[in-house]
């Protein structure tokens, strides 16, 4: 029997959703202040309007649904999944007001793409967009990469014992420190330290490349936020091609790899356990996967003599592969060049890289290395079971921060999420084919959206069908939250309709 959600459930969900909206509104004050400082009047108005709408909505919702009760598991999951939709709807307001997006749907697409750290864009005339709107585009990637709820938990919501449910709901199932709030703050600390290092190195490099100091550091900050949080937005329409620099590309490669590593691994490295990077199942898996896929991509591109020199192969082939594997979506080739110049095997290699992703508890999307490692170990265990005598005791171990025994629950969870990702990749590809795009192109774009990568072969543009835009928005949302909170939200609505 399905139980209909009670009034208290709705009140708790509404109350915490209201508080998260207030937090989002306060965050939007940052670009509003920035606009006032640099004298961009109309962008300042766009953000003031968005802040006011968010605060009025958040305050009203929190007041109507006021409750002292803590969140239970189901409520937490529903709050998380709804928060991301509301964040995209409200975050899109300044975009839409700027006039650079053709419709509110397009603005919502880019807002969801930003929050989910995907990087697919529908913005028009990006090269003339204000600095303030560009700051917001990249800031939402930074916020989304850490987790919208984590931002709220870290700075705006205190003393919430049900925080762990929301933390898990945002696709993170590992606590670095015993307390979720402490974990969130540690994630922010790591991010801020890398932010300073990244912005300084990109800023100085930018100046050496011929950018003016303010422009170099502003663009450095934007590129860092997009690279570390594996987003893929850039302030210019040419993406990373704009900079025409190998050094700049090399720095972004390093930041992308750092962003694709588990925050728990960062914690170990900070604590001096440097050997962990070589022993961890995720980093090993990532390393092997990158090598295997680069052999495939490199061999197919090299065979066609598309990039006859090693430096070309690195800057075009390897860069796209790393960008895909880490889920960033930075491009050093134009979207049309994928299918115009690359052969199908190289493209399949990139699709695999996008679909696999980086580490769990990082800012990357997709299936992720730990799950693949667990599935691989489970397969080994089953093979051993067949080969070895029946009485043999078989225990499969793997190393992830510490030595762990493989259990069926982990395998089931890893398989469930992996199958969900595969299903959503195929679903998006079928939708693309339905709207008249070729199969491989559709699979490429669908995987890019669902795995929150952002590489595009050209399907994503303002002229594509509105239904496909909606499907990609759903894919980005589901892919970022890793399904559990979405399943809970669907269950919540079913229970509200059919429950007793």
């Amino acid at each position: 029997m399905i139980l209909r959600p009670r009034r208290e459930d709705v009140l708790s969900i509404g109350y915490y959703l209201g508080r998260i909206i207030i937090a989002l509104g306060l965050v939007m004050l940052l670009p509003a202040l920035f606009a006032l400082i640099i004298g961009e009047k109309n962008p300042a108005m766009d953000f003031l309007i968005a802040v006011e709408i968010s605060l009025v909505l958040g305050l009203t919702l929190a007041q109507i649904c006021r409750t002292d009760k803590d969140l239970n598991w189901m409520q937490g999951m529903v709050v998380v999944s709804l928060s991301w939709i509301v964040a995209a709807l409200l975050g899109a307001l300044p975009f839409y007001l700027s006039g650079h997006w053709n419709s509110y749907l397009d603005a919502c697409f880019d807002a969801m793409s930003g929050f989910a750290t995907t990087g697919l864009i529908l913005v028009q005339d990006l090269d003339h967009l204000s600095l303030t709107h560009n700051l917001w585009r990249h800031l939402i990637m930074f916020i989304g990469g850490q987790g919208i709820v984590i931002v709220a938990l870290s700075f705006f919501i205190r003393g919430l014992s049900g925080a762990f449910t929301m933390y898990v709901g945002e696709g993170r199932d590992e606590r670095i420190l015993p307390n979720v709030i402490q974990t969130s703050r540690f994630i922010w600390l790591v991010s801020l330290v890398y932010f300073i290092l990244g912005v300084v190195s990109l800023g100085i490099t930018g100046m050496l490349l011929g950018l003016k100091p303010f422009s170099a550091f502003f663009q450095g900050a934007c590129i860092f936020m997009a690279a570390f949080d594996i987003g893929g937005f850039t302030p210019h329409s040419q993406n990373i091609l704009y900079y025409h620099s190998f050094a700049f590309e090399l720095i972004t490669v390093m930041i992308m790899i750092v962003g694709a590593l588990n925050f728990k691994l960062h914690y170990c490295l900070w604590m001096g356990r440097r050997t962990e990077i070589f022993k961890n199942i995720e980093t090993r898996g990532l390393f092997i996967s990158i090598i295997v896929l680069f052999v495939i991509v490199g061999a197919s591109l090299g065979g066609l003599q598309i990039y006859p020199e090693a430096a070309m192969l690195f800057r075009k082939g390897f860069y796209q592969l790393i960008s895909a594997h880490t889920g960033t979506g930075f491009q050093t080739i134009y979207p049309a060049q994928f299918f115009g110049e690359w052969n199908q095997l190289a493209i399949i290699g990139v699709i695999f890289a996008m679909g696999l992703g980086g580490a769990v508890c990082s800012t990357t999307g997709a299936i992720k290395m730990l799950r693949l490692g667990i599935i691989y170990k489970a397969l080994l265990e089953d093979v051993k079971r067949i080969i070895l005598p029946e009485k043999a005791v078989i225990m499969q171990k793997y190393h992830h921060i510490k030595d762990m025994l493989l259990d069926d629950r982990q395998v089931r969870s890893a398989l469930l999420i992996t199958l969900s990702y595969l299903a959503i990749y195929i679903f998006g590809a079928c939708a693309g084919v339905y709207f008249g795009y070729p199969v491989l192109n559709s699979l490429f774009e669908s995987t890019s959206a669902a795995a929150n990568v952002g590489l595009s072969c050209g399907i994503t543009n303002a002229g594509m069908p509105a239904a496909l835009k909606l499907i990609y928005i759903l894919q980005m949302w589901a892919g970022r939250l890793e399904f559990m909170s979405i399943f809970t939200l669907i269950g919540f609505f079913i229970a509200a309709i059919r429950g007793k």
Binding site: E40, K41, N42, M45, D46, L48, I49, E52, I53, L55, V56, L59, T60, Q63, L97, D127, H128, L129, S130, L131, L209, G210, L211, K212, S215, H236, S237, Q238, L241, Y242, Y243, H244, F246, I306, Y307, E309, A311, M312, L313, F314, R315, K316, I333, Y334, A336, Q337, G340, E341
Partner: protein, 191 residues
């Protein structure tokens, strides 16, 4: 009679000569035309500026050829020693232009939020995967012509947005006051 015959034969000769010369002229014309077509092939083919999208979609066809590309200078002029990189957008696609530094000296405005960049025409060699720049799709400029000078865009405050912001500010103040009132009254009730 003999005179008449001679006259006829000379007329025939003249006719034959004139038809021969006509054939010759025609041959010369054909040769001249085909020569002109061969020699002036590039000028005819790319006398008009190509678009960025066309260049990318047909990169192999244009590779290594001299092309004309028109667009707005956007972003930054990045000086690299005696050369410079500029990015030029035709309104749809932006392409990197590698040029001698001196060719950029006439450029005064680059496109951004508050500025409209100079509109220029580049005559240069297009590369699908430039050997000098590790595989970049770029144009090496031979000449740059300034077609339209850009300028600063004066930004006026949008009054509609200002009015909406003011109305919403009022609504926000109301909701804050209402919330404070509810809090105070609930505290009083508890007391």
């Amino acid at each position: 009679m003999l005179y008449k015959c001679k006259a006829r034969s000379s007329k025939r000769k003249i006719k034959a000569q004139s038809s021969k010369s006509k054939v010759k002229n025609l041959k010369l014309l054909v040769l001249g035309l085909s020569f002109a077509l061969c020699v002036l092939h590039f000028t005819f083919a790319y006398a008009q500026a190509v678009t960025g999208r066309d260049l990318i979609d047909n990169a192999t066809e244009y590779n290594g050829k001299i092309i004309l590309f028109e667009g707005e200078v956007i972003g930054d002029i990045m000086i690299r020693g005696e050369h410079a990189w500029i990015n030029v957008s035709d309104g749809d696609t932006a392409i990197g232009i590698w040029t001698e530094k001196k060719l950029t000296e006439g450029l005064t405005h680059t496109g951004g939020y508050n500025s409209k960049g100079d509109w220029i025409r580049i005559n240069g060699i297009f590369s699908r995967a430039c050997g000098e720049h590790s595989g970049e799709l770029d144009i090496h400029a031979q000449s740059i012509k300034l077609l339209n000078s850009g300028g600063i865009i004066q930004e006026g405050l949008n009054l509609g947005k200002r009015n909406i912001a003011l109305v919403l500010l009022g609504a926000l103040c109301l909701s804050v006051i209402l919330q404070a009132y509810i809090k105070i009254s609930s505290r009083r009730q508890k007391v």
